[in-house]
């Protein structure tokens, strides 16, 4: 499932633009993890990790990793000044109670209604739902980040998900290496297209219908 380093960084960097001052933010495993290293200057958000940290920051420098201070993906992080540790019931209590302003999650598939599938490829990969159901169902805003198409070129943004769902109508925004797409009541709206691609590229790589506004930004 690995995407090229550049594409991963591109997606993470664009996702970081969704961070606003004061937000409480959870980052899923994979590409979302990278977002912590792209917080824009002057923006102060508080990252929450479901393994029991509120207040972590950038990755440590090589050699300065603390093996007992990692995010939910198992990668070393650093603490910020407001940090606290707690057990996993408190971590998920925050999530379930709706205190997360934003979660950025990986996706296997996203439907045009914002349905999210990210926990199982039937008959192949069964990572388990982990905290994705809790997060996708309860965070105030859900951003799905993913390569625009699967490794075999098949589309991941679909009229209906074919994999078992994590949550129905959860996703508010989809950020890929090709596009930024908003999930609205009217359907999927193409907001931005990556420099390297055209609107037509995006439409061809997307199985779900896209609403194309007059103005589509570049990123």
């Amino acid at each position: 499932m690995a995407v090229g380093r550049d594409k991963r960084q591109l997606i993470a960097g664009r996702a970081a633009q969704e961070l606003k001052n004061g937000m409480i933010v959870n980052l899923g495993i994979g590409i979302p993890t990278l977002v912590a290293d792209y917080v824009p200057d002057g923006v102060h958000v508080v990252f929450q990790a479901e393994n029991g940290i509120l207040g972590y920051g950038k990755s440590p420098r090589a050699g300065e990793e603390d093996p007992f201070l990692c995010n939910a993906g198992g990668l070393p992080v650093t603490l910020t000044d407001e940090a606290s540790y707690f057990d996993s019931t408190i971590a998920f209590g925050m999530i379930r109670r709706g205190l997360l302003d934003l979660t950025i999650l990986g996706a296997l598939q996203v439907s045009q209604k914002g349905d999210l599938a990210n926990w199982i490829v039937p008959g192949k990969r069964v990572p388990g739902m982990g905290g994705a159901i809790d997060l996708a169902q309860k965070a105030k805003k859900v951003v799905a980040v993913t390569r625009h198409v699967a490794r075999d070129g098949s589309p991941k943004i679909l009229p209906e998900c074919t994999y078992p769902l994590t949550t129905r109508q959860a996703v508010n925004l989809i950020i890929t290496d090709m596009a930024v797409i908003e999930v609205t009541d009217a359907g999927l709206v193409l907001k931005e297209v990556a420099k390297e691609h055209t609107v037509d590229d995006v439409v061809r790589a997307t199985a779900a219908p896209l609403i194309i506004p007059d103005q589509v930004e570049e990123f």
Binding site: N21, G22, I24, G42, H44, V46, Q48, L54, G55, L79, T80, D81, E82, A83, S84, Y85, F86, T89, I90, F92, G93, M94, I95, R96, R97, G98, L99, K138
Partner: protein, 241 residues
């Protein structure tokens, strides 16, 4: 250092008593920390009395003593209803209850704590066998798991929660004072707006992250405490026995 101060400012919830009291009004559903008065926030209670707020719906462990802590709101007639576990230390509560001026709803103490926590955790409730076969089961749904019967005890939430912290940082991370912890971290999670008064407000980064009891995400406002302004009952008994 400039970066730190900027972050502290961006995340700060420190405010004034006056500002905090704007959220506590006639009829507010108000949870409070404390057990026998210890942990009841003195400055906020004094503020509520001064502001003249009435018809409060309280949720908390007990009603302290007539002149102590949350008991002062009962004595002053500012409370319409209370969900609690024990009012034995405050005879005024019993008098108002018997004369029909105060509605009192009892839960076993451990069940009350779990119901408040469940509210804070975004759960619908918990299942317990405590109270089965007593009046505590009256009017409650029951459910069987593997043939064993449990009461369905529903979650409690509030509009506002007030707690007395030992230390608070500007983000709202809290520690409590010895046996003053009790229900405080539970109610702090279960309200829409949580107001903490702290004996000491310390700079961001000075609390040990291993020892923080209430993470700041649960706290909306932090105000300085004026300290306890009542005599504890054991202080008055001292020397008289």
């Amino acid at each position: 250092m400039i970066a730190i101060n900027t972050r502290e400012k961006a995340l700060s919830k420190v405010t004034t008593l006056e500002e905090a009291l704007k959220y506590i009004n006639d009829g507010t559903v108000l949870m409070y920390g404390g057990f026998g008065g210890i942990g009841n926030p003195p400055t906020l209670i004094e503020g509520i009395l001064q502001k003249g707020v009435k018809d409060l719906v309280l949720i908390g462990n007990d009603t302290a003593f007539p002149d102590v802590g949350i008991g002062r709101l009962i004595t002053a007639g500012r409370v319409r209803k209370i969900i609690t576990s024990h009012v034995g230390s405050n005879p005024v509560t019993g008098q108002l209850m018997h004369s029909g001026k105060l509605e009192v709803e009892f839960s076993p103490q451990g069940t009350l704590a779990e119901r408040i926590r469940a509210g804070g955790m975004g759960l619908g409730g918990i299942l317990t066998d405590v109270g089965i076969g007593t009046v505590a089961e009256n009017g409650k749904q029951k459910i069987k798991i593997n043939g064993k019967e449990y009461l369905v005890e529903t979650a409690l939430t509030a509009e506002v929660a007030i707690v007395h912290a030992d230390k608070a940082d500007p983000f709202g991370n809290l520690t409590y004072i010895r046996s003053g912890r009790n229900f405080s971290p539970l109610v702090a999670m279960a309200a829409d707006i949580t107001i903490a008064e702290a004996d000491e407000i310390v700079s961001l980064g000075s609390l040990d992250p291993e020892c923080i009891v209430t993470p700041g995400v649960y706290v909306n406002m932090v105000i300085p405490s004026q300290g306890v302004n009542w005599k504890w009952p054991w202080e008055e008994i001292k020397g008289s026995s």
